[in-house]
């Protein structure tokens, strides 16, 4: 019988980093112990109880085993994230997890593709891969220069960074897809990891498939229990639970997820197309 981690840790926010105008990173002390030690790609459930109460899944954006800290990185996109953006150091959040399956390392030449705040789990994986001595090329994409995430940290990791912005203010002018197609003309990879808006991931999926590069993608769906019972985050046509069988899916898995890139379901279960 698996032990589900479902007790909240009420944690003080130790540090807040304003990454961009709309993105902040929150750092917490975290006991690195047993199945509490997160893997890149896993997520935590974040319970905000101070103002409007709510709870959402958040990818872990940094795992610092030396200093016993983890971080989450949020873009201010709605009521919940706005509430969190108004917190200050010393405020508390309830955190449970980590949940889900995480990325699997396969080979030494790695392409990591992150769009916007999708860089959160990607950067975690890059830290691990570069620590292991792998060669990592990162395609880091955003709308504009100021929105590119973790540039210094990624540089320091030893990875090669290929930025691209919609407005050309940093690196390549254009989308992550174009940047990836460019890279693949001259380079080859053992594996790729991808996180970003689902429409972007779908296009990247087609590109990587054409080149036969095995890839892993981080999926997001509305979540309630995060323990694999409520069924809220199940995807068509396999029924897999994003919170247990996901959030990371391989190319082969993703081929069976027929709703990938097409639609997701809201809190009531109504389908919303992307």
């Amino acid at each position: 019988m698996n032990k589900i981690i479902n007790d909240y840790r009420i944690l003080e926010i130790k540090e807040i980093i304003s990454e961009t105008d709309t993105i902040k990173t929150f750092i917490f002390d975290w006991e690195m112990e047993g199945n509490r030690i997160p893997k890149p790609g896993q997520f935590v459930m974040v319970w905000s109880f101070l103002r409007k109460k709510d709870e959402k899944p958040m990818s872990i954006s940094k795992i610092d085993e030396n200093n016993n800290q983890i971080a989450i990185t949020l873009k201010n996109v709605g009521e919940f994230t706005n509430d969190l953006h108004n917190l200050t150091v010393g405020d508390k959040l309830g955190i449970r997890g980590p949940y889900g399956n995480g990325f699997e390392m396969e080979g030494d030449n790695i392409l990591a593709i992150g769009g916007g705040v999708g860089m959160a789990p990607i950067s975690c994986f890059v830290d691990q891969a570069t620590d292991n001595g792998s060669n990592v090329d990162i395609v880091s994409a955003s709308v504009t220069k100021n929105e590119l995430l973790f540039l210094d940290r990624m540089k320091n990791s030893g990875a090669n960074i290929f930025t691209c912005t919609d407005d050309g203010t940093c690196g390549f002018e254009g989308f992550a897809t174009h940047r990836t197609i460019d890279l693949l003309e001259s380079r080859s990879y053992d594996m790729a990891v991808v996180c970003g808006p689902e429409i972007m991931m779908k296009e990247i999926f087609n590109i990587l498939e054409a080149k036969q590069i095995p890839a892993q993608y981080s999926m997001e769906r509305y979540m309630k229990c995060a323990m694999g019972v409520c069924g809220q985050c199940c995807v068509d046509n396999t029924g897999w639970r994003i919170c247990v069988e996901g959030p990371i899916f391989s190319t082969e898995d993703l081929k069976k997820i027929t709703e990938f890139g097409k639609y997701h379901r809201d809190a009531s279960g109504i389908k919303e197309t992307f």
């Binding site: 109460k53 323990m227 809220q232 809190a267 279960g269």
Partner: protein, 326 residues
Amino acid sequence: MLKTRISGIEFENPLILAAGIMGSTAASMNWILDSGASGVVTKSFSKEPNKGYKNPTTVEVEGGIINAIGLSNPGVSNFKNELKLIKRNRKGTTQENGDKGIDSKIAIGKEISDKIAIASVYGSTPEEFADVVLEVHDLVDMIELNISCPHAMGGCGAAIGQDPNLTYEVVKAAKKLSHVPIIAKLTPNVTDIVEIANSAKNAGADALTLINSLGPGMKIEINTGIPILSNKFGGMSGPAIKPIAVKCVFDVYESCDIPIIGVGGIRDYKDVVEFLYAGSSAVEIGTSIMYEGPKIFSNINNELKNFMVENNFNSIDEIIGFAHKD
């Protein structure tokens, strides 16, 4: 050997997915059916869409969880599209789920029994129930009336099932129109569940599901003093509620002669046998999927077969109600 019947409907084994667990999409229910369940009960749905409560909606407690999802559902007109996709006719068909859990060796390429789809419906009035029943009764094999959810809003759920008269009215309205058998799912959170069971029976219920989640209960976070669930309280499910569910089945079996589907805390074949002994004709499994995933169904079916062989039981019928022989 594992076959059982409820109101004339044959189940290939006594294990059914409980309402509210992985029952929001046809895809997840088909996965459960491929994993060995003989039937599925959908997540409860209503006439209009409902987003349910804000998170947190579920929290672990000793021996299980408490939840207040709040009956979220996309409404009957959207949900009909899911109902149509439940694979009830299984002759030679299966779904490939690879290494994520289905025991494909069992399912692929074999003649497989039909599976039973049960719609769980709710509303706040007999008319609402009747409307939803009419919309879906041609798409499913049975309908389970949720008159027992302990965290429902606005006169739904246990507000009905805690009152014998409302129970009677709702069951009667549903039964009158339905082409398929009507099951009433009852709450244990009453002074006398036998009274409610008889109200349901007298209104024409073909079967009963016992029990919905217990309590409700609450968990207050120790560092903050805040009830964790956004709804403050929620229904308790999981292994710890089993003794109470078994007692409800035992009592109702003695006093009310329609078939019973037992549910509450089932985690292994022993729990299933206990519910059968108490008088259930089949059981529903829900929360324990949290511990083992969908493969719990094939695991229990295998264990149950072994148990029956070792104990010289030739059919599920021989086990049903065994604890009442004295």
